[in-house]
């Protein structure tokens, strides 16, 4: 397992290197003069020159690149033009909010996605299976902001059960956090529930066809034990590999969910940054979230090796 970890960390290094390079290059992809674009149309030449100097755009490209990596290694991602704070600080404040929302949505996804996938597989070709798969198909097809808007209209505006948006920190008021995060978490989770239910169902069907399930059945084990001990524990292994995809979709989805429900997380921070041409913030935020995602994927692979001994032997 240590070997798997070392191997994956090794393969992550070139990826992170290219990711940082792409992020660095972004500001140079701005058509025309980046400094002028950042300053906006009302800026004076002096202001543009000032921005150019502040961002180091007046130095040669190679020295900018060295500077970029040197700063990265110091954990310095520059200063947000909009907020006037260090990018890292702004992210540190917002990131826990996004992680909280994503974790809540992930819990909902795992419970409902796994349950409906397993039940659909066990009741294959019955109306329960069909209903679950129709639900899953809708789940992967309903845009999350559309679902969010409809839920706001029904549950927040018409019924008044929950606020239309806003955020209460979990540390201040756990119940309040729960109340205001439930609609966002559901709208974020629906796509993933559909995705996970479909994958779980097909994986379970595949496993249930195996000889060892027939053996277990033949020796008279109760159905529940077969499902949980023999089928599920084997079906879970391929399912674990999609957790990386799920986390990626959670981060992508949280951008629009946070904007919709006025939750002050990373998504809202980045959308605001884009709208205000706050490029250091866009670069830094994108880089941190991507690095986080790469780390999650390494974690998933290690977990995979832990769950499936065959992977461990292959790696050794």
């Amino acid at each position: 397992m240590i070997l798997v970890l070392i191997r994956r960390l090794g393969s992550a290094i070139p990826i992170l290197l290219i990711v940082t390079l792409i992020t660095f290059g972004m500001i140079h992809m701005i058509p025309g003069d980046p400094a002028a674009a950042i300053a906006g149309i009302t800026a004076t030449p002096d202001q543009i020159a000032q921005i150019r100097h502040n961002l180091g755009l007046d130095k040669p490209l190679a020295s900018q690149l060295v500077h970029w990596y040197a700063n990265l290694l110091h954990g310095d991602l520059g200063t947000s033009l909009l907020l006037g704070q260090p990018v890292l600080y702004a992210v540190a404040v917002r990131l826990p909010v996004t992680i909280g929302l994503s974790a809540y949505a992930l819990v909902i996804t795992l419970i409902l996605g796994l349950a409906s996938g397993i039940i659909a597989a066990l009741k294959q070709n019955t109306w329960i299976d069909q209903a679950a798969m129709v639900f899953a198909m809708f789940g992967i097809s309903v845009p999350n902001f559309y679902l969010g808007l409809l839920m706001i209209i029904v549950f927040a505006v018409d019924l008044g059960w929950v606020p239309t948006g806003g955020y209460v920190a979990f540390a201040d008021d756990p119940w309040g956090w729960f109340v205001c995060m439930t609609l966002p978490a559901i709208s974020l989770a629906l796509l993933l529930i559909g995705l996970l239910a479909r994958i779980t169902r097909s994986t379970m069907l595949e496993v249930l066809r195996q000889d060892y399930i027939r053996t277990a059945r033949a020796k008279g084990l109760p159905q529940r034990k077969i499902v949980i001990k023999h089928a599920l524990s084997n079906a879970l292994i391929p399912i674990v590999t999609v957790i990386g995809i799920i986390v990626s979709l959670l981060i992508s989805g949280s951008v629009v969910t946070e904007t919709l429900f006025s939750i002050p997380g990373m998504g809202q921070l980045l959308t605001q940054a884009v709208l205000n041409r706050d490029y250091p913030m866009v670069q830094g935020g994108l880089l941190i979230l991507t690095a986080l995602l790469v780390l999650v994927n390494i974690g998933v692979d290690v977990l995979y090796a832990f769950l499936d001994p065959r992977v461990r032997y292959d790696a050794a």
């Binding site: 070139p14 990826i15 992170l16 290219i18 990711v19 792409i22 972004m26 500001i27 992809m29 701005i30 058509p31 198909m137 809708f138 992967i140 097809s141 309903v142 845009p143 902001f145 559309y146 808007l149 409809l150 706001i152 209209i153 505006v157 479909r198 994958i199 097909s202 994986t203 595949e206 990626s248 979709l249 981060i251 992508s252 989805g253 951008v255 629009v256 904007t259 980045l270 959308t271 940054a273 884009v274 709208l275 041409r277 490029y279 866009v282 670069q283 935020g285 994108l286 979230l289 991507t290 995602l293 790469v294 994927n297």
Partner: protein, 300 residues
């Protein structure tokens, strides 16, 4: 087999070559019997038809203001109602369909050409594989919507820029799928036979490898169309896509957000159109996968 053929004659008929049918014709026939595929195709066709027929079925300019007729609920005069500027939502949603289809088709075309080229080159020529795939993996490491947002922030907020952004985001995913097919096919005996017969790289790729790599690609492209339409709508909704008053579905919904309690149809109708498109394409993709590429059924 017709019942009037005698048993003895079967031997004769079997000895003859059965009429050879083109594999595409076989696949098409199976698709047309696939319920999910046909339903998906029908849903998608509604939107596509609306997009193509837009100038005829939606005579009003989608941006024409009519301040005397703001917030009209759906009626015979205004089938989808009007918005805060009295613009006809019927026209806006139909022209929105046109933009969505334009974006979807463009992104699919970019993926089908550039994604296939990169994937085929990377899978076939081992020497470049490592470098190309590292860059590919790095692009795939970014969360999709965030990368698209960042690219539009850099390029600008026009339909063309959004198409480029979505192309950059999704092409690596297509390239990876083509590459994995090509790697398997390259080792096939008939490819070795072609090499032995003196076929060049270009001929081998075009005649022997790529036609066999098409099935997973077609399946991928149908889902990709759905992602492209969905992501574009998301970008517009966030205000980082095509600038208002461009009648994209996302823009219409973003405009309607302020009035969602009094005029919920402004949000509900373009959202439903978006959902029908994505649903149709997903069902179509599922059907294509079942028929063209049964091995993939296990993965999803």
């Amino acid at each position: 087999m017709p019942p009037d053929i005698a048993i003895g004659a079967t031997v004769l008929t079997e000895a003859q070559d059965p009429p050879r049918r083109h594999p595409a014709a076989v696949a098409l026939q199976r698709l047309l019997h696939h319920r999910l595929f046909v339903t998906g195709l029908a849903l998608f066709a509604i939107i596509l038809l609306a997009a193509v027929l837009a100038p005829w079925i939606a005579p009003t300019d989608p941006n024409q203001l009519s301040m005397r007729q703001t917030f009209q609920p759906p009626s015979w005069a205004h089938p989808f109602g009007t918005d805060n500027f009295g613009r006809s939502l019927w026209s806006r949603v139909i022209y929105g369909a046109q933009l969505s289809m334009l974006i979807g088709i463009s992104v699919v075309a970019i993926n089908a050409t550039i994604g296939t080229a990169i994937g085929a080159a990377s899978g076939y020529f081992r020497r470049i594989d490592n470098v190309v795939m590292r860059v590919n993996d790095a692009l795939m490491a970014f969360p999709a919507i965030l990368l698209a947002i960042a690219i539009t922030a850099v390029l600008g907020p026009s339909i063309g820029d959004v198409i480029i952004a979505l192309g950059i985001v999704y092409t690596p995913r297509t390239a990876r799928i083509v590459r994995s097919s090509v790697i398997v096919l390259r080792e096939m005996e008939y490819v070795q036979a072609a090499v032995a017969a003196g076929a060049g790289h270009w001929r081998i790729l075009r005649r022997h490898i790529l036609p066999n790599a098409m099935a997973p690609l077609i399946v991928q492209l149908s889902f990709l169309f759905a992602y492209a339409v969905l992501t574009e709508a998301t970008l517009s909704f966030l205000g980082v896509g095509a600038v208002p008053p461009t009648p994209t579905w996302g823009n219409i919904m973003a405009d309607g957000r302020q009035y969602m309690t009094d005029a919920p149809w402004i949000i509900a109708i373009p959202g439903a159109a978006l959902m029908i498109t994505v649903l149709g394409l997903n069902m179509l993709g599922d059907g294509l996968r079942d028929v063209l590429d049964p091995r993939l059924r296990i993965q999803q």
